[in-house]
């Protein structure tokens, strides 16, 4: 078996006296979609920050195809792990197109000298980048907003633009941090369709979501993170049936969670 495209082994993250992640391990196979669920403050975003090199874990390693990833977000992205942010982090005063073009940064062959002189290959690299950008904007359904400033886009479109920008780095792994947070029902639905479409592209995805119904229908595997530790890992069916999940998840009364899960089952 080939080594996973993204693998965390024993990742622990300590902030002062607070242990945000404790010995988290999992592997993501090529083309697989993993859902990451858990109550607020369980360490989901912290895990993303460790996976993308924004944080250097206190102990444990993150690796891709057997090689450890550096603690530098830029180089992690170069190696094919891209992400979106829970609180949208677009470049607000750039247009939608420019935002995605920035995503092409790592894949563009354009040295500073060529940038400066608009020398040989400049037009070609710009044209290729713009074509790919146009494709991606089309893909996420934002082609008509190409020249609009990111900050002027509606909230849901901003989230999708962030996904397009991440996809522009040609990632083999895409980490989505609550891609439907704060959206209305319509936007949520559109975004879900988009994530299904990304899955069809064959990109491996790790997605953080609160909506278990959505996670269970989308993902191959689900990780339940509680208080910085992996509580349960398994297929949606396994996780759904696990009493520990029902007990721990969201700290909510069990029957409420159960109701939510039943609802998810009914729609399947």
């Amino acid at each position: 078996m080939t080594s996973p495209i993204l693998e965390a082994s024993g990742v622990t993250m300590q902030f002062g006296g607070l242990r945000a992640l404790n010995d988290v391990s999992f592997g993501l196979a090529e083309g697989e979609v993993i859902g990451l669920i858990g109550p607020n403050g369980a360490g989901k975003t912290t895990l993303f920050n460790c996976l993308t090199g924004l944080y250097a874990p206190t102990s444990g390693t993150v690796s891709s195809r057997g090689t450890p990833l550096p603690h530098d977000p830029a180089r992690v992205t170069e190696q094919g792990v891209a992400r979106t942010f829970q609180n949208i982090r677009l470049f607000p005063s750039m247009t939608a197109e420019e935002n995605v073009l920035v995503g092409r940064h790592v894949r563009m062959k354009q040295s500073p000298i060529i940038s400066l002189l608009h020398g040989p290959g400049f037009r070609k690299s710009e044209r290729e980048a713009r074509e790919r950008t146009a494709e991606l904007l089309e893909f996420v359904g934002l082609a008509r907003f190409s020249d609009e400033l990111a900050r002027n886009l509606p909230y849901g479109d901003q989230r999708r633009l962030e996904i397009a920008r991440a996809l522009a780095t040609d990632p083999s792994v895409l980490l989505l941090d609550e891609p439907t947070a704060g959206m209305n029902a319509q936007e949520t639905e559109a975004t879900r369709q988009l994530i299904f479409a990304i899955r069809m592209l064959g990109t491996s995805v790790v997605v953080i979501e609160h909506d278990t119904k959505f996670i269970f229908t989308l993902c191959d595997r689900v990780l339940v993170l509680v208080q910085g530790e992996v509580l349960v890992e398994g297929t949606p069916d396994e996780v759904r049936g696990d009493p520990r999940v029902i007990e721990a998840y969201l700290g909510a009364p069990p029957d409420e969670v159960e109701a939510q899960i039943h609802e998810a089952e009914e729609t399947q």
Binding site: T52, L54, D72, P73, A74, R75, T77, E78, A82, R83, F85, R89, L90, F91, P92, S93, M94, T95, E98, L101, V102, G103, R104, H105, V106, M108, Q110, P112, I114, S115, L116, L117, H118, F122, S125, E126, A129, R144, D147, E148, L149, R151, N152, R165, T169
Partner: protein, 581 residues
């Protein structure tokens, strides 16, 4: 087939605020008010402006004339007011789209002209008598014109400003080229006219400052009116369509300036100095405007370039004492400045924001202190490095007058040509970089550094590169500066100069080329014109920084992208309307 089509939204932009009642009360009489404003402005034109001849000599443009003398012979600020007044009436009666907006712009111009000239006469004449009535003479020109301006602003606003029209005219290419040629020719004469207006400041010409400011005021009014009519946007769209043509014509136009009224040694020197600071400001604009890194010691790079050039050009005071050809000197100066740029920029790897600004300030201070103490014998200390030889090529010294056939050009023309080419090259560098992978990376860092890193941008090297390239450009300008002025002294590179450069970038508009050039021009021409206010120069400068940050932080020519960001709630700006959807 030419299709000419003007789209405009005639509905008034809804206004909110305490003055609601006033506007609605005045609205039905808006047209009357607008015409009245024009009439008042014209009457103001023909009224006397000063009751007596001032001590410094007659105020220009016959300010002391009797009522309505020589109706066709008006000149100077009177002519400007006359044109503005007629324009107000015509616009009001024709009912153009956005007439309110246009007339309001003209009104501000009138107010500026009236206030500047009136205040000047008032101050020089020693009291209100000078601009009202005294010793049986009356002079209500300023007052009437001021009222005219105010009525224009009221009338323009009251009847609804109207949205700025979106002109989508398309003409055959030759017609558009012709229009651009005419526009750029007008720009050339405007620049020459503004530059020389009022003449050289100082004792020789006591009213230079007032005349110059008045011209600026009238021009400001005219430009805001043109902008309100949508014409400016249209012309810039046309020039965008014919980009290369426009760039070439602009360059030629700039090179033609010596043939206009500005073609004297004095104005050529002023223009060359502006060029030095404009080139430096564009370099700074890369660091501040694009990459968003505040540099408070930037003038040091200009200084480094100048001192390197001074030492390599055979100046007697230089300890190195070698003389290299000028192009080589320029390259070495630029490279050395670039290396220092990388050094000063390296703390960006660890330091952000305000703290970075302080680090650059500290580097700048270290440079000045070291230069003041003649470090390594390279800077001449308090004695400076004097007698740097002028550049010469083909036996022609750049400092000498030039004769080509029958045309005699003043000395300094060759330096002017050189600086125009240098500024053009610097602009090219800026524009090329802005629209490239590197430029986008800088802007991304400015917008959100963490997100930029998450997109794979190695922010450290990219930021250092911004400092390096900016410093290189300043070094080039420094080498030119050393030869042009012939003396390099440490006190040309003090903190206040860094602040002035930063101010010119901000005043013009961050991240734009015309902004940096305009800002540098204003900040370095004004002191020339306002010699009699030399004492108050920095005081006014400091206050102006405060006022600009408060009321127009986006600068005079804002970057289209940053406009909304820096002026979030400018109530009278056209709302961002997406016309494509």
């Amino acid at each position: 087939m030419t299709t000419i089509e003007a789209r405009a939204v005639p509905t008034a932009v809804p206004r909110r605020g305490r003055l609601d009642g006033l506007w609605s009360a005045l609205a039905p009489r808006a047209t009357v008010l607008r015409v009245l404003a024009g009439v008042l402005t014209i009457i103001g034109t023909y009224l006397p402006w000063a009751t007596f001849v001032l001590n410094e000599g007659p105020y220009p443009d016959k300010a002391t004339l009797n009522f309505f003398v020589d109706p066709l012979g008006v000149t100077g600020f009177r002519l400007h007011l006359l044109v503005i007044g007629i324009a107000m009436i015509v616009v009001a009666l024709l009912g153009l789209p956005a007439a309110g907006r246009i007339i309001r712009g003209l009104g501000w111009g009138t107010i500026a002209v009236a206030v500047i000239n009136g205040l000047y006469i008032l101050v020089q004449g020693g009291g209100f008598g000078a601009v009202t009535a005294s010793d049986g003479a009356v002079a209500f020109g300023a007052v009437v014109a001021l009222v005219g301006g105010l009525v224009a602003v009221l009338g323009g606003t009251a009847g609804g400003l109207g949205a700025k029209p979106e002109l989508t005219w398309r003409l055959p290419w030759w017609a558009e080229w012709l229009i651009l040629l005419v526009v750029f020719a007008i720009v050339l004469f405007l620049v020459a006219g503004v530059l020389t207006s009022g003449g050289q400041g100082g004792v020789v010409n006591p009213y230079a400052g007032a005349v110059f400011l008045s011209v600026l005021g009238a021009l400001g009014g005219a430009i805001s009116a043109l902008s309100a009519s949508g014409l400016l946007t249209w012309v810039s769209a046309v020039s965008e369509r014919h980009r290369i043509f426009s760039v070439v014509v602009l360059l030629v136009v700039a090179l033609l300036l010596p043939l206009t009224s500005a073609g004297t040694e004095y104005w050529m020197t002023v223009a060359a100095n502006i060029g030095v600071y404009a080139a430096t400001a564009i370099g700074l604009n890369i660091v501040v405007g694009l990459a968003g890194l505040l540099d408070l010691g930037y003038v040091a790079f200009l200084g480094i370039g100048a001192f390197v050039a001074a030492n390599l050009s055979g100046a007697a005071a230089s300890e190195i004492g070698i003389e290299l050809p000028f192009p080589l000197v320029m390259i070495i100066s630029a490279v050395v400045a670039g290396i220092f740029g990388a050094i000063v920029g390296s703390p960006t790897l660890r330091v952000r924001g305000d703290y970075l600004a302080i680090v650059t300030l500290a580097f700048g201070e270290i440079f000045v202190r070291s230069a003041q103490n003649n470090i390594g014998g390279l800077t001449g200390g308090a004695n400076a490095i004097p007698n740097i030889p002028a550049v010469s090529a083909f036996g022609q010294s750049f400092a000498a007058p030039l004769t080509i056939g029958a045309v005699k050009l003043p000395s300094g023309v060759l330096y002017y040509v050189l600086i125009v080419l240098l500024v053009a090259a610097v602009m090219l560098v800026f524009a090329n970089l802005k629209n490239s992978r590197l430029g986008r990376a800088w802007i991304a860092i400015r917008e959100d550094e963490d997100a930029a890193r998450a997109m794979g941008i190695r922010t450290g090297p990219v930021k250092i590169l911004a400092f390096m390239i900016g410093a290189t450009l300043a070094g080039l300008a420094g080498a030119f500066f050393a030869h042009k002025t012939g003396v390099v002294a440490y006190d040309s590179f003090q903190f206040i100069q860094s602040v002035t450069l930063l101010a010119s970038v901000i005043l013009g508009g961050m991240g734009t080329i015309p902004g940096a050039v305009l800002g540098a021009s204003i900040l370095f021409v004004l002191p020339e014109k306002l010699r009699e206010f030399a004492d108050y120069r920095l005081l006014i400068f400091g206050l102006a920084l405060v006022v600009i940050m408060r009321f127009r932080p986006q600068g005079l020519i804002p970057d289209a992208h940053r406009r909304a960001e820096l002026a979030p709630d400018a109530e009278d700006e056209t709302p961002v309307v997406d016309v494509t959807t």
